[in-house]
């Protein structure tokens, strides 16, 4: 295992760290490994067991760092369970590793909350052959928090996996979400909604690797950026030469709501097989004036009309979720948040 202090800090020429340098999301001085407490993980719906943390296999600096500070893994047993898991990030700097092993059909909503200055989260999962898993992650951290999240998901033969992220908390977030389709006929759907407000900086890097034939993946990232917020979406979709008959698509959409907001989209595609359908799209635009005019002509104020359009844009991110539990949880929480933020 590479020691963090021996590892090279990546520079901004690296795709992954181009817009959010590692030094900006490290909990202290970049050449140090500070003391980090464990976050509190609770659930009334799932059986959680703790075991000794096994290092993540990686050359990536964020994972190498988490390998140094994590000591415990919380394992979620999924046996046709549905429900919620709460991760509370309190104190100065905290971290958690949650591992989900799914052999059945389960639906999980993970709530991240707390006022920690820094929160490091590692999420790993194995979706075993024929299993179905739907996971929704709601980030409602305090507005001062910095979060580093790394995900490593393995999808095996005939596995179905949905992963939804609602990002509206925290001040600076760096999420590196990697999924590997290791078995034929595996299917991945990934949905991300970002609401940028204040000076939020939200960076999502999504890697999807098709290693086997007849695999499918679909990614949708919708970001609405207000005030001086900054959203970044970078995608790296790789289709190996043996992964024939793959169907993969990525869509990145940015809605810019204020003159000082910013958005970046880099959906990359590497295709080494020819019998595939691979596509990506990215779009960025202000609020459509015709939509605004239509709503205002029906008696809404400009603020109300804008809020309605933003809500529609973000809520739409999750309509493709098959899991009713996860979809409703995400959409409900998003609607409440937007009503507080936009309408007051």
């Amino acid at each position: 295992m590479t020691s963090y202090l021996d590892a090279t800090v990546p520079n901004r020429s690296e795709h992954l760290w181009r817009y959010t340098p590692w030094s900006r999301v490290h909990p202290g001085r970049v050449d140090s490994v500070p003391d980090v407490d464990s976050a509190v993980i609770k659930s009334e719906d799932f059986e959680l067991t703790n075991k000794t943390f096994e290092p993540l296999a990686t050359t990536d600096i964020a994972r190498i760092f988490l390998n140094e500070i994590l000591h415990t893994t919380t394992v979620v047993a999924c046996e046709n369970n549905n429900g919620h898991i709460h991760i509370h990030a309190g104190g100065h700097s905290v971290a958690a590793h949650l591992h989900i092993a799914c052999n059945s059909a389960s639906n999980i909503v993970i709530h991240l909350h707390g006022e920690a200055d820094w929160f490091g989260l590692a999420l790993t999962g194995d979706i075993h052959p024929n299993a179905q898993l739907s996971v929704g992650i709601i980030n409602e951290l305090s507005t001062d928090s910095v979060m580093v999240r790394v995900d490593d998901w393995s999808l095996h033969r005939d596995a179905r996996f949905e992963l939804a992220t609602l990002s509206m908390g925290g001040h600076r977030n760096k999420s590196d979400i990697r999924s590997t389709l290791k078995g034929s006929n595996a299917s991945l759907k990934q949905f991300i909604a970002v609401h940028g407000h204040g000076t939020r900086h939200d960076d999502h890097h999504i890697e999807i690797h098709h290693q086997q034939p007849h695999t499918n993946s679909h990614l949708l990232l919708n970001a609405a950026c207000d005030d001086r917020s900054h959203s970044i979406g970078t995608g790296a979709l790789t289709i190996d030469d043996v992964a024939q008959h793959t169907d993969a698509g990525q869509v990145f959409r940015n809605l810019l709501l204020s003159p000082s907001s910013r958005a970046e989209a880099i959906p990359e595609l590497e295709v080494l097989a020819n019998e595939v359908a691979a596509a990506h799209g990215a779009a960025s635009a202000p609020i459509n004036k015709e939509q605004l005019h239509y709503l205002m002509s029906r008696g809404l104020s400009k603020g109300e009309a804008t809020s309605m359009i933003v809500e529609g844009f973000l809520v739409d991110s999750f309509t493709g979720l098959d899991s009713d539990l996860v979809r409703e949880a995400m959409q409900t929480r998003l609607t409440v948040h937007l009503e507080c933020q936009l309408i007051g």
Binding site: S261, E264, A265, L269, A278, G281, A282, A283, A285
Partner: protein
């Protein structure tokens, strides 16, 4: 061409070479002295020598790019390149005065014939320098300057000094530094205010010698309200050792001007083609790159436009064909730096026989650039399971009023289309050829007709044997 030569060349019809007849040939390898010698030989002013020396040192200090095809780039042996080779003592204005062997080459490439039929002017560069140059009298009378770059520097040093390196500085990247240090040949064009050059002007670049480096430098300035269409073509013989082509092209379109720069790059598969092309468009000006990459071993080329004036427009149409052993790493960059600027990028690529094509793009909207619109479309066709296609687009949006779209797709040739054409009597190979020609049609329709016909023929040649 002997049968042996024919066998070596294969399908690449421009792979022949003539005996080297150099009047001056530098030893292989690069040093400050080589740079000084090139400058002295050309009798350049001291300021140009200084720029060359600065660029040389920057080149030596700058690391190789850490992106793109690093493995292939690592194969370049800068010590095994001839940096200057003069084939003719002067640039002729009459084809009859061009040395016979060189003239024969350009005859075979069809350049004199094309000039008579449809060109406003021609520059033919052989190795490091132009061997032939002409411009129609009526354009000359209107004040249009169309010279090879060496003559441009001699005859109009004030214009060259004002604009040289302003669009692509030598510090831009390692290969622009190399070009600035050892540049030779290329075109210099100045179009006066309000003049529209109706017929395209053409430059043809030919590498003949082994391990040759060609480093032409092109500077085109279209003054207010003027327009010009510049076409370049390039070929080289097929050798077992590699050659290096590292050009820099700078376009400056003043208020209301329009520059279209069309390229059909058909280097042989032993040429590294590492080119920096960039244009600046001022108020209501238009810069268009029409860029076709058929040949070369590795191409890394991303025509760029800086939209500096309100209402400026950029258009990039780029196609790439990557066959066996080829990597076409091409794309486009557009920087929206002023309000109400617009751009369109269309990129199409085909990978076949293990070839790799990559689109690498940048679309940037700065905070001051309100009301911008842009659309990027990338389509890739994969013709077999050994090939590869990549897309690396970047969108940086710093202004909330920008309206940008990007879409890309990678797919194989549709079975329905093949079936339709075959049911109408075409063989599978013909059907595939028609589909490929149709796929590139948005590019070919923007080319002068003679180029479009030639390109379609080249593609048909490349497609031969692609089935079964």
């Amino acid at each position: 061409m002997t049968q042996e030569a024919q066998d070596a060349v294969g399908d690449y019809k421009y792979g022949f070479h003539d005996p080297e007849a150099a009047t001056i040939r530098f030893d292989k390898g690069l040093s400050e002295q080589v740079v000084r010698d090139i400058s002295e030989l050309k009798g350049e002013p001291a300021w140009m020598t200084d720029i060359r020396i600065k660029a040389y040192h920057h080149f030596m200090e700058r690391e190789m790019p850490t992106w793109g095809n690093c493995d292939s780039l690592a194969g370049i042996d800068f010590d095994n390149v001839t940096y200057f080779l003069r084939s003719s003592d002067k640039t002729e204005k009459d084809w009859n005065d061009v040395p016979d062997d060189i003239k024969r080459t350009f005859d075979r490439l069809g350049i004199p014939e094309a000039e008579q039929k449809w060109l406003g002017g021609v520059t033919a560069q052989y190795e490091s320098e132009a061997v032939y140059h002409s411009i129609r009298e009526d354009l000359e009378e209107q004040g249009v300057l169309f010279l090879d770059m060496d003559s441009g520097l001699k005859e109009h040093p004030e214009i060259v000094k004002k604009y040289f390196g302003t669009v692509v500085p030598h510090t831009d990247n390692k290969f622009s530094a190399l070009n600035t240090a050892v540049w030779s040949g290329g075109s210099f064009i100045y179009v006066p205010k309000g003049v529209h050059v109706e017929m395209p002007v053409q430059a043809y670049f030919r590498i003949n010698a082994k391990n040759m480096g060609q480093f032409e430098r092109t500077l085109i300035i279209a003054d207010e309200g003027s327009s010009i269409h510049y076409v370049e073509g390039c070929t080289a013989p097929t050798y077992s050792t590699d050659s290096l082509h590292s050009a820099v092209v700078e376009l400056i379109a003043m208020e209301g001007a329009k520059i279209r720069y069309s390229t059909v790059q058909n280097w042989s598969a032993n040429v590294y083609n590492l080119v920096t092309k960039r244009g600046v468009a001022y108020k209501n000006a238009t810069v268009e790159w029409v860029d076709g990459n058929i040949g070369s071993k590795l191409t890394m080329k991303y025509p760029a436009v800086l939209l500096k004036g309100e209402g400026a427009h950029a258009e990039v149409i780029s196609v790439a064909y990557a066959g066996e052993g080829q990597h076409q790493d091409a794309g486009a960059k557009v920087h929206h730096l002023a309000p109400n600027t617009t751009s369109n990028i269309l990129s199409k690529s085909i990978s076949k026989n293990g070839g790799r094509s990559s689109y690498r793009g940048m679309l940037q909207v700065t905070p001051k650039a309100s009301g911008c619109r842009s659309k990027v479309v990338c389509d890739a066709l994969m013709l077999d399971e050994d090939s590869r296609s990549d897309t690396y687009p970047t969108m940086e949006i710093g202004n909330s009023t920008a309206d940008l779209e990007h879409e890309a797709s990678v797919s194989k040739v549709s079975g329905d289309q093949l079936f339709y054409l075959m049911s109408r009597g075409h063989s599978e190979e013909e059907a595939m050829g028609l589909i490929v020609n149709g796929f590139f049609e948005p590019f070919t329709r923007e080319l002068p007709m003679e180029y479009a016909v030639e390109l379609n023929r080249l593609l048909e040649l490349e497609m031969e044997g692609s089935i079964g």
